[in-house]
């Protein structure tokens, strides 16, 4: 039996992004002994990369804003497939979560009267995104990190040990969740992982696990996501018997860098457009005016003049179509490039240089200015940028209870942040993720604490043989001989997903992808890793690949099943949105080696919330008999 380290905790949070840290703070403040485990160093989680801002209807810039408006925007953005309760909680609680950050030391940009400034973003009716230049995610992570440090300082004072109640296990990867029984029956009893640094194994005995592991973008070739985004949390949950939903909905951000090749996919923040940037094709045409879909016709400007006026007088003009929800813009760019009107490196032009003075650009978009200067030798105050769609965010994720983040299928499993699903429906609005992390991170932390509280002394214990199995599984790649190298397999998987289950999908291509995934599965099971366990990236990737392959299969199978186009799922062979499909969630679960997909009805929105919308708008999404209780319903 390999040796391992063992720790006891009340709550173990996997992930130190915004969701994970907020959950940990909530659990610790509820008096629970809490561990945070993460793959990279403390303070480096993916959330640092978020740029544009955090959406909360504080109404600091336009006081017409309130939670109802935010709720409506969120539902529209998600094409009414959002879990309504999550969208409601999110819209209601986001302002408090943002204000709380200030209390912990965050320094957002200010309005003239000293409040938190808010900026425009795609799909948000009013300026709503609290921000710090274009490095909002960094501010969020650092603030939460420093809040954790302050809690530790308190513990040091009170208990003599800074890590007595809250400890961060950095560069430690969880590879398995431990149960007290078979998957499907068992409750969470612990988690198994390894330290990246030494390769040493570690077991956490805990009754509650909060999975806040972020997204899955690394399964795609062109992505704004980092290596961390291998979908571990989803795979962990599924292997423990949990369910995952909405996996077909993947957000392709319209503006990623396309050149040079080595940075292809790196995000160009939406704030460029929020602050006045426009999209042009190779003919110099502002093409977005040609792509306003019917459902949005009444909400967007139809002439350049009106769109331009909106920046200074938003109350009396409609916003320009560059600020349509991301799925619309990404598809539009894709079509322009396909029609041969793309830029030299296969994107379109994003122009801020001709719209704002160099000083304003450098002040408002400092990191974009540097990013292009340093990575592409392009001065965005002088030249337009070349941009194209990049895989950015997964709307789908672990199925959770909206109020507590609890998994409906595995007791003791909680989830929040990008790893969980439902909140954003078929498409997420920019800025709604950071607020989602805080709102549901906190709720999951509290949910987990309450669950542990409820267990009393009856804590489930992990089965020893499962620990051995987990250790064997982790070491397997060293024992195979003559297998392939994980880097090659990873590249093939990325290429497959990018080409065949990418932004535009067809039945034949997805089937082809599934065929290849099936083959890759076998090859992954036999891959070989050289060297030893001490900080060995080849081995790390090998283990991450096992998550990626599961998640990729979910995406492909769900995409094949949903025969309509909606939000982050576009089928060339089924180009329209169908109200029959709106009420269906696709739920994935793992049985042995196989992914199973079942249809599950979407929770039905309360009439109170339904009444926040006009009947005429709802007609575009909902079937008529779903609307019979609407106040404007024609009897």
């Amino acid at each position: 039996m390999t040796d391992f380290e063992r720790h006891q905790y009340d709550v173990v949070v996997i992930g130190s992004g915004g969701a994970g840290l907020r959950a940990a703070i909530a659990a610790r403040e509820a008096g629970k002994k809490t561990a945070v485990v993460c793959k990279s160093l403390f303070g480096k989680a993916h959330t640092v990369m978020a740029e544009g801002g955090i959406a909360a209807s504080m109404g600091n810039v336009n006081d017409n804003d309130n939670w109802q408006v935010h709720f409506r925007d969120t539902m529209r953005g998600g094409k009414f497939m959002n879990n309504y309760r999550m969208a409601e909680l999110h819209a209601k609680e986001a302002p408090d979560r943002v204000w709380e950050l200030e209390e912990w030391g965050a320094l957002f940009d200010r309005t003239p009267d000293g409040k938190i400034s808010q900026r425009n973003f795609g799909g948000h009716e009013y300026p709503r995104l609290a921000h710090v230049g274009d490095r909002t995610g960094l501010e969020l992570i650092r603030t939460l990190q420093q809040k954790i440090v302050s809690l530790q300082q308190q513990d040091e004072k009170d208990l003599g040990d800074a890590e007595a109640m809250l400890k961060v296990f950095a560069e430690c990867t969880i590879t398995d969740l431990l149960l007290d029984d078979e998957p499907g029956k068992g409750k969470i009893a612990g988690a198994f992982g390894y330290y990246r640094e030494t390769g040493r194994f570690v077991v956490f005995d805990t009754a509650a696990v909060v999975v806040a592991t972020g997204g899955i973008g690394k399964s795609f070739k062109v992505t704004s996501n980092s290596w961390e985004y291998t979908g571990d949390g989803l795979a962990l949950a599924m292997r423990a018997g949990g369910t995952v939903l909405n996996m077909e909905f993947i957000q392709f951000h319209p503006t990623g860098m396309v050149w040079p090749l080595s940075v292809k996919g790196i995000l160009v923040t939406e704030s460029v457009r929020g602050d006045g940037g426009i999209l042009k094709n190779s003919e110099g045409k502002r093409f977005m005016f040609d792509y306003i879909p019917d459902v949005f016709k009444a909400k967007y400007a139809t002439t350049e003049e009106e769109g331009d006026r909106w920046y200074t007088d938003p109350d009396n003009n409609l916003r320009p179509p560059e600020l349509l929800p991301r799925d619309e813009v990404a598809r539009a760019i894709n079509s322009e490039v396909k029609a041969g009107r793309g830029s030299p490196h296969g994107g379109v032009f994003l122009d801020i240089a001709s719209r704002k003075s160099p000083d304003v650009i450098r002040k408002k978009l400092p990191s974009m200015y540097h990013q292009f200067k340093e990575l592409a030798d392009v001065d965005i105050t002088v030249e337009p940028m070349e941009v194209g769609p990049t895989c950015h965010y997964v709307m789908g994720g672990i199925e959770v209870d909206p109020d507590t983040g609890a998994s409906p299928s595995v007791q003791g499993l909680f989830s929040a942040g990008e790893a969980s699903g439902g909140m954003h429906g078929s498409n997420r609005l920019g800025g709604n993720s950071l607020s989602d992390l805080l709102v549901f991170g906190r709720r999951a932390g509290l949910g987990a604490s309450a669950y542990v509280e409820g267990l009393g002394g009856n804590k489930p214990t992990a089965k020893e043989e499962d620990i051995t199995k987990a250790a064997d599984r982790a070491q397997a790649p060293f024992t195979h001989e003559g297998g392939e190298n994980p880097y090659t397999l990873h590249q093939e998987l990325q290429q497959t997903m990018n080409d065949l289950v990418g932004i535009i999908r067809t039945d034949a291509e997805i089937k082809e992808a599934l065929k290849r995934i099936e083959v890759l599965k076998g090859r992954i099971a036999n891959m070989t890793v050289e060297g030893h366990r001490q900080f060995n990236p080849g081995w790390h990737l090998a283990l991450d690949l096992q998550s990626m392959i599961i998640v990729s299969e979910c995406v492909a199978k769900a995409a094949l099943t949903r025969t309509e186009s909606r939000g982050g799922h576009t089928r060339e062979d089924f180009p329209t949105m169908e109200s029959d499909w709106r009420v269906v969630n696709l739920i994935c679960s793992l049985h042995g080696n196989d992914i199973e997909i079942v249809k599950q009805p979407l929770p039905i929105m309360t009439n109170e919330l339904l009444s926040l919308f006009e009947h005429s708008e709802l007609e575009k999404y909902l079937a008529i008999d779903e609307l019979k209780d609407h106040p404007e319903a024609k009897r």
Binding site: S40, E103, R110, L138, V149, A162, S226, S262
Partner: protein, 254 residues
């Protein structure tokens, strides 16, 4: 545009190691991190390196390139000539773990020694009012991505291991400056900067500023102003007198 470059990468761990030569192909627009990844993919899969964002945002990929502390993901290959040998080593101020990965826990330890933001009592969330001009100085310091390159280059600890306990380093001087200049922070931090964090050990030779990938003016905007604030609190007899007359502590908020 593609060519074969000569690389020298330090391979090893605490027990020792060596600079190892590689030939590896380079394409247009690539950065050093791309080349390290190519080495992993094609020649040496267990080459250890830290990275996350590959866009200069997370501060993970800190190392030294041709002897200079730098982010691997922001060091473009076209800054070297094609026949130049590029040497990549781990940070040399912190203990090495393996290859290009070092143990930077020193920094997390130091972070914990600085008292957190202390808002005025009774101020409720949502009631915070701050002017943009008052937050701007601190915002500059909050751009820090904690790459610890400044900590690495600082000779106070790079060349003198024995100073580590007494010296927090530039990253944490900017943190103190950030809090001391925060319009709503109420804690007093000036004496601490000198007495607990060793700002007096800094001889303002500015290497930290030179390497900071976020272009934070560490020395000019944080360390020197902090040194001046320390002087207010500790070394200026006139201010001491002035403060006594007004019944305050020298170095109190104005």
């Amino acid at each position: 545009m593609a060519y074969d470059a000569s690389f020298r990468v330090w391979r090893g761990n605490t027990n020792g190691g060596e600079l190892t030569n590689y030939k590896v192909s380079v394409n247009e627009g690539e950065v050093v991190l791309d080349i390290i990844h190519r080495l992993q993919q094609t020649q040496t899969p267990d080459l250890a390196v830290r990275w996350n964002c590959k866009a200069g945002k997370c501060g993970s990929c800190s190392a030294e390139v041709n002897g200079k502390p730098a982010l691997l993901c922001m060091t473009r290959m076209n800054t070297f000539t094609e026949d130049e040998t590029v040497t990549v080593t781990p940070l040399r101020t912190f203990p090495v773990i393996k290859d290009l990965v070092t143990d930077v826990s020193f920094n997390y330890q130091k972070a914990r020694e600085i008292p957190s933001f202390t808002p005025p009592e009774g101020l409720k969330p949502g009631e915070y009012r701050m002017q943009q001009v008052d937050v701007e100085r601190s915002q500059e310091f909050r751009k820090c991505i904690e790459c610890f390159l400044c900590q690495d280059v600082c000779h106070v600890i790079r060349d003198h291991e024995d100073n580590k306990p007494a010296f927090s380093g530039p990253r944490f001087f900017i943190r103190q400056a950030e809090l001391d200049m925060h319009p709503l922070d109420t804690a007093s931090r000036k004496r601490d900067a000198q007495e607990k964090h060793g700002i007096g050990l800094c001889n303002i030779t500015k290497c930290c500023t030179e390497v900071c990938p976020e272009h934070i003016k560490i020395t000019d905007n944080a360390i020197i102003p902090m040194k001046e604030r320390v002087a207010d609190a500790k070394y200026d007899p006139l201010r001491w007198l002035g403060a006594k007359i007004r019944g305050r502590q020298p170095g109190d908020v104005e």
